[in-house]
Symmetry: C2
Subunit: 341 residues, 2 copies
Amino acid sequence: MAESVKDVARLAGVSVGTVSNVLNHPDKVAEATVARVQEAIEKLGFVRNDVARQLRAGNSRAIGLLILDVRNPFFTDLARGAEARAAELGHAVLLANSDESSAREADYLDLFEQQRIRGLLISPVGDITGRLHRLRDRGIRSVLVDRPSSDIAFGSVFVDDVAGGEIAVRHLLEIGRRRIAFVGGSLAIRQVSDRLTGARAAVAEHAGASLEVVETAALTVDEGAKAAHALLTRPPADRPDAVFAANDLLAIGMLQVLAGSGDVTIPDDIALVGYDDIDFASAAIVPLSSIRQPAALIGATAVELLLTRTGEAAVVGRASEPTRAVRFQPELVARASTGVR
Amino acid sequence: MAESVKDVARLAGVSVGTVSNVLNHPDKVAEATVARVQEAIEKLGFVRNDVARQLRAGNSRAIGLLILDVRNPFFTDLARGAEARAAELGHAVLLANSDESSAREADYLDLFEQQRIRGLLISPVGDITGRLHRLRDRGIRSVLVDRPSSDIAFGSVFVDDVAGGEIAVRHLLEIGRRRIAFVGGSLAIRQVSDRLTGARAAVAEHAGASLEVVETAALTVDEGAKAAHALLTRPPADRPDAVFAANDLLAIGMLQVLAGSGDVTIPDDIALVGYDDIDFASAAIVPLSSIRQPAALIGATAVELLLTRTGEAAVVGRASEPTRAVRFQPELVARASTGVR
DNA sequence: TGGCTCTATTGAAACGCTTCAACGCACGCT
DNA sequence: AGCGTGCGTTGAAGCGTTTCAATAGAGCCA
């Protein structure tokens, strides 16, 4: 029922070693023998037992990808990019979801460690360099995605969030807005605080511009709606004339409340910029200006970084040295929510 | 660097068999010995090699979950339900995404077969009973999710889509609408055609009610927007007074276009019902009435069906016989898009 | 013909674990 | 004292591969 190389060898009239060679080094086997073995494989419907292969050969074809939020389109896009590139390189991506929980994160790291995966792509909940070092001692390399690594020992692929924040706010200033609000949180999340830093830098360049910070509990649609309601309780003169939201989910939540209030017109009264440029941004009731991150490219690059020692496939850096950190630049996509048609 | 049971055994002064027993059958080992071995494990930071374990023991702890669309919240919710239940039962879910592509589906099935996973949960692209039979011959059982199995040999967990369509349209009829449009596609997708069948049944019950079918190319936001634009080109009198969309993504696309047109008020001119009740439905610009499917419960139940031979954990059916097919009933969630506050 | 090289194939060891028959030992019973 | 009982432990076999030293055979040249 579960055929083994032994069965194939018997049917083809060769030794198991030869069958293995046909599977892994066909160039080392005479053409006629290859054909005979292939035929036997076909006839028996043999499928190599990857578990045994991995035990002996020591390396797996599976790459673990541990993300923060499987429901955020940014991460699923990233995952799809990683999957595609891994498939091209003959590997497979196993997707796991920590849901921003350290406990779940730890569980999945245990699983991956036990399974002796080939490598790990992770968007960590907190600081887990200790854990990653331990994995590395076991021969499992890691690459951080969507966050720069504080530890030089690990590769990372991320987007320059400071630049992204700067671009977003500079755009708002260019269309004439001066009273900017930054909406996002928690500020403990690295990505959020970096975007705020960029926003501050842009405002500082511009005399007469001011930045107000509205911290939220999470990066969700609900939290965006809450923040918008808070804004609406103020007299119109006290409201900002532009909002930079730390991600698109927040921005969409705000959009719905503000546009639905009848009290505020977007972008005339308040212009709005989000972050991530998820598919839904362009399909929103007022198409949302956003900062695009190359999610799929981040995933694909992380896979390359993980699998190539020499880094020849990496996007940035010298060819002779492994590229340990790849930084992408974000890009403004202006739409109706900032008055661009 | 990579410790083995041998190292642990040496440090603890016992045989490897005893170490294995501590790991797998601690009740068979004297208490003092357990303690000594545990200590050695701690000291060495030993992590059992699950690959070797699996090769010898024959069964994996990993369950494959192959879904149609990782970007559809319905499926990610389903995946989370499966993950959670599997974790409770000591298993892990490996998520893979076929993207509605038969080729990708086949690739992942190959991978899972090679990896000798414990079992498979699949929302298939087309008809793959042949392939599933082959997996079963290799000892890998399958459960179909979100679709009834045409083959009695495989378990399935699904929602009664005919009933869902009926409930949706009956609701529209109850609030006084008569000219109903069904928007969805392709009709080749089983779920879509079932929902349409239910819609037809509801309309047939009601003299004076009519049903128009608008087929779309896919179940996406974009396609919904397209369908809405087509509707807007008609003179108001020729438009339906209610729309039943085959899923929430379509409904949201329509909502945006219709609400944004200024020409149509929802629900006054056109009432709208979606399907799936994704999180975003309640957060839409006009909160969307929808048919709720217990996505997480479907995932959890599928895991149980897969892992229990006796079916004692299954939700429906006799305890003595394995429950092969579990059908859930959908539920209406009425919101503002059908005039309910 | 003898010796050499090169290619194709073989057979067994090894990967790290679980399992299981066998063994030793202490204990209680007759 | 002799014997069975049962618990705790051991050591080796085996899971299905890959790898590698050893071997066989063919071809070539002197």
